[in-house]
């Protein structure tokens, strides 16, 4: 069955889309790839020259690492795939950001916007994230090395702050028995149903969270409204941290997934799978389904 993808909404950092014609395993593979395998840029190494603030160096380093950076995936490569293979990287696999702030007569907050990047395309997604607050005379100076990385290594490289899917709902109304009392319409908190010509109508099935309230409140026995789950259709909701546009996270996840499938196919064709599955062979027989 051909797979069907439909864009439902794209607002700011959030994308909603429908994937039809796949199973839960595929939907979850896509979700996990978006969370853990799509590269983004984050600060990974920090050389602190001066820190007389009230926060210790490691807390500063942690906070600076968590600042999402706008990522230019087309100009940079992952350090492990870069030809240079050096500790601090080269211009293809890292961006250097510097910060030099000293508080004068008044206390002042050091913001992410005080970071000076060598690449104007790789900057913090928001210039207003506080890093530390300095009392008069205190100073913070450091050099930061930002690299591409993936979420499975550290959550700071995760491109998403929310990435979820749920099954599509299917609501059916028995028009002959329905009295048009409207209690199901009132019970729905998500605007799925509306009353039209004294009959409930489904107007926005993609907003249904499968709560079942509409069925519960129906005064008829059995209810004249039913709510089913479409097993092979999924609604995804993805919120970007701002590092990448949400639609790019999805397309990039598909690319990464295809790359991994190609790798798997290559291993199968070259007969390299035997050594991969060798440790699990005894286990399969124990479970009683040993045929491969």
């Amino acid at each position: 069955m051909p797979m069907e993808v439909k864009l439902l909404s794209l607002e700011g950092d959030t994308i909603r889309f429908l994937v039809k014609g796949c199973d839960t395993a595929f939907a979850n593979a896509l979700r996990r790839t978006m969370i853990a395998e799509v590269p983004t840029m984050a600060i990974d190494d920090l050389f602190i020259f001066d820190n007389s603030s009230v926060l210790p160096d490691e807390v500063i380093a942690h906070r600076v690492g968590l600042i999402p950076l706008k990522t230019d995936l087309d100009s940079y490569v992952l350090p492990e795939r870069c030809e240079c293979q050096s500790d601090l990287g080269c211009s293809l696999c890292r961006v250097v950001l510097t910060l030099d702030v000293e508080a004068g007569e008044e206390s002042r907050t050091v913001y992410s916007g005080d970071l000076v990047s060598e690449d104007p395309a790789v900057v913090p997604v928001s210039p207003k994230i506080p890093i530390v607050k300095l009392a008069p005379g205190q100073a913070l100076r450091f050099e930061a090395y930002a690299r591409l990385g993936v979420g499975k290594d550290h959550a700071k490289w995760q491109p998403v702050s929310m990435c979820i899917y749920q099954n599509l709902a299917d609501i059916g109304i028995d028009e002959d028995r329905c009295t048009g009392c409207g209690s199901c319409v009132d019970a729905c908190r998500y605007g799925v149903l509306t009353l039209e010509d004294d009959k409930p109508r489904v107007v926005d099935i993609y907003s249904c969270l499968l709560c079942g309230s509409c069925v519960e409140v129906c005064p008829l026995k059995p209810p004249a409204i039913r709510q089913d789950v479409v097993e092979d259709a999924f609604i995804f909701k993805v919120e970007s941290t701002g590092a990448l546009p949400p639609e790019r996270i999805v397309t990039e996840a598909v690319r990464v997934l295809l790359e991994k499938l190609d790798e798997l196919e290559g291993k199968v064709k070259r007969g390299e799978m035997d050594e991969e599955i060798e440790p699990f062979k005894g286990l399969e027989e124990e479970l009683g389904h040993a045929q491969t």
Binding site: V54, I129, P130, P136
Partner: protein
């Protein structure tokens, strides 16, 4: 101590929303309305701002007062 950069649970950036949140709540606005306005919708992120106490301001007072005080050591 200081507002965390991201929500502990989901990872949304909330650090950049603290100053506006604190200012508007201090001015008498309803915190729930301010959070809605800032686009902080999930309760994991909302508690980050609602429950935060900016202790760093108290710590910095030690340094600020020390510089201003006329008290001399010795």
């Amino acid at each position: 101590m200081i507002i965390p950069v991201r929500c502990f649970s989901c990872g949304k950036v909330i650090g950049d929303k603290w100053e506006e949140f604190a200012r508007r709540v201090a001015a008498g606005e309803n915190p729930a309305a301010v959070l809605d306005d800032l686009g902080v919708t999930r309760y994991c992120c909302r508690r980050m701002l609602l429950s935060h106490v900016n202790l760093i301001d108290e710590v910095l007072r030690l340094y600020e007062e020390r510089d201003r005080s006329t008290f001399k050591e010795g």
